[in-house]
């Protein structure tokens, strides 16, 4: 058994009277694709936001490679090696595809405010290496053709892909994708599945929230099912498919 990358213990978060995430415990093994599924309002996205630091838990702990990251801010979580995408893509619309992905290299470069102001030679060298690494990533993901387009001008399917590319530019250990297939057609979804598989093969652990059940069943190594904030089941795709409680939640009694 390989190491555990993410450990979530008894995580809780309420919004007013709604217990959005109710005592959820989860561990993610390194190098796997782990998916979180569940009906609408099950607390999947809240769970995601808790891990990425966008919201704080009421109680419980999150450990990343054994380090307690509970309550850290999103940029601190990102600096440790967790990067996420958003349910409705959040690209920087008035920047080009290339520039968007270059922002993803932020953590891998270090020019500060003052040295940037002065335009020191070190900065210019660094800028070149950022450019080079982004160009090769664009090449790899077949995005070179649209690199100079503004992100508001490219179709939705490509926006999704650009957002994933931007997250990959961060070179995270753990990539969290929040409903990456939402709004994609069947071909795009297939392509997405292959892309996620490739990402895992590069050694990146993937945590996926997704509604498209066939996609989840195809690519996941493990699945956790959430219902009304509580963990309902956890296991391999085949086990989940046979789990009676899961079937009940999804199909009704």
């Amino acid at each position: 058994m390989s190491g555990v990358i993410l450990n979530v213990n008894n995580l809780n978060r309420s919004f007013g009277g709604l217990h959005a995430v109710d005592d959820v415990t989860l561990s993610v093994e390194e190098g796997l694709i782990k998916s979180i599924i569940g009906p609408n309002g099950a607390g999947k996205t809240t769970f995601f936001n808790l891990i990425s630091g966008n919201i704080r838990p009421d109680s419980g702990h999150i450990h990343f490679y054994g380090k307690d990251i509970t309550g850290l801010k999103p940029f601190q979580v990102a600096a440790l090696g967790i990067c996420r995408t958003f349910q409705n893509t959040r690209l920087f619309g008035h920047m080009t595809v290339m520039e968007n992905i270059m922002v993803g290299r932020h953590l891998k470069s270090r020019s500060g405010f003052i040295s940037s102001l002065l335009g020191l030679p070190g900065n210019i060298r660094e800028e070149k290496s950022i450019r080079a690494s982004v160009l090769s990533l664009l090449e790899e993901l077949n995005l070179s053709g649209i690199k100079d387009e503004l992100c508001i001008n490219i179709p939705f399917g490509l926006q999704r892909k650009v957002e994933i590319a931007r997250a990959l530019a961060v070179e995270p250990e753990l990539l969290m994708l929040d409903e990456p297939a939402a709004g994609l057609n069947i071909y795009e979804t297939t392509e997405l599945g292959q892309l996620i598989g490739k990402i895992r093969d590069r050694g990146v652990t993937v945590l996926l929230v997704e509604h498209d059940i066939s996609l989840v069943m195809n690519i996941s190594d493990e699945i956790m099912v959430l219902n009304q904030g509580k963990k309902l089941a956890e296991g391999k795709p085949k086990e989940i498919q046979k789990n009676e409680e899961v079937i009940k939640v999804y199909l009704g009694e």
């Binding site: 801010k73 958003f86 690209l91 922002v103 020019s111 940037s116 900065n123």
Partner: protein, 361 residues
């Protein structure tokens, strides 16, 4: 690589062209207002960086301008004779820390030299910007606008109520600023052309720094904050820190403008900190196109020049209000990008291309 500095050369070219035109045409009386506009545009370019690129509004930047101007005015006019004995003062003067000068009544007094005052003014602006920026930049949109507006009002009220700062009269008899021996910020008629170039040297320096910043990792981070703060944060960008640094930088530029203009004019009054002034800066940034450094530079100099020449008459303040409303309603991307002008420029480009092709035949 050097392509990014090309616009600076164009600006320099235009600046030189205007100087030659005015000098040869005998219209040198325009220089005074052009110099003042140039110093005001230091505020404008800083605010462009803050508003247009980092996406944060400030309705209090006149406050920073006044902090710069007043600090320098006070330190260079204050009499230090009571503080130190004559020997110490002449020693400090030989070190360029203090300066011997005559007060309005003809008495010899010792004050801080303008360079010392400049450094102190910038440090105070940095300090205040940090102090204000840390709590205020947590706010967004209207709330940020209101909070910065409040800051501007506080500064003006303090200036109006402080006798040591001249209350409603402000501070006058501010000495010339000798930058290096032979080069002075002064309103002497004979040095008008030199001062025109001094002012534009500082503006170009400011632009140079901002262009560097925008073309760097930090500049990209700023624009990404404007695009989507949450996403920027999730990519590892410490958004609140970058917003704060940008706020401080724009405050420094505003304060520098305040220092230079005060030494140029020889005085500063509390109206420089007024809300109306802050609104004016915001209006200029809006009319110039927000994230268009050279658009705001052009509109800033044009509008300030017209205003200072008195072409807007008694409607001066109303003009900037109307501009702001008009821009928000009809041309939110600035006047240089409204359709008419876009069509016109593409029309001209097309005709030129046709003309070129015909010529080749």
């Amino acid at each position: 690589m050097l392509a990014r500095y090309k616009p600076l050369l164009i600006v320099l070219g235009i600046v030189v062209l205007i100087q030659l035109l005015l000098s040869l045409g005998g219209w040198e009386f325009f220089f005074t207002q052009l110099i003042m506009s140039a110093y005001y545009s230091l505020v404008v370019i800083g605010l462009t960086l803050l508003m247009g690129y980092a996406g944060q509004i400030s309705l209090g930047h006149a406050g920073f301008f006044a902090i710069g101007g007043y600090t320098s005015a006070l330190l260079t006019t204050i009499d230090l004779s009571g503080l130190w004995d004559k020997g110490t003062l002449s020693l400090l003067s030989s070190l360029f820390i203090t300066m011997e000068q005559k007060d309005p009544y003809g008495n010899i007094i010792y004050s801080f030299s303008p360079w010392v005052a400049f450094v102190v003014a910038i440090l105070i602006a940095v300090g205040v910007a940090f102090l204000i920026g840390i709590p205020v930049l947590r706010l967004k949109g209207h709330y940020l606008a209101m909070a910065t507006l409040g800051f501007g009002i506080i500064i003006q009220t303090v200036l109006l109520g402080t006798t040591a700062l001249g209350a409603a009269d402000g501070i006058s008899n501010v000495p010339d600023f000798t930058l290096v021996p032979g080069i002075q910020i002064t309103d002497r008629m004979a040095d008008r052309v030199m001062n025109y170039y001094i002012a534009w040297f500082f503006v170009l320096l400011g632009l140079f720094l901002i262009i560097n910043l925008l073309n760097s990792r930090v500049g990209r981070a700023l624009r990404s904050i404007h695009g989507n703060e949450e996403a920027a944060n999730s990519l590892g960008i410490n958004t609140s820190r970058y917003k704060l640094y940008t706020f401080v930088l724009s405050a420094v530029l505003a304060a520098a403008g305040g220092v230079f203009l005060t030494h140029y004019l020889g005085s500063i009054g509390p109206s420089e900190a007024g809300v109306i002034k802050s609104v004016r800066y915001v209006a200029i940034v809006a009319v110039g196109g927000m994230d268009n450094l050279f658009g705001t530079l052009l509109m800033g100099n044009l509008l300030n020049f017209l205003s200072l020449r008195g072409y807007f008459g008694t409607f001066d303040e109303a003009v900037f209000g109307i501009i702001l409303i008009g821009i928000m309603l009809f041309a939110p991307k600035g006047i240089l990008r409204i359709k008419g002008i876009k069509y016109l420029s593409s029309f001209i480009r097309e005709k030129l291309a046709v003309f070129k092709r015909e010529k080749e035949k």
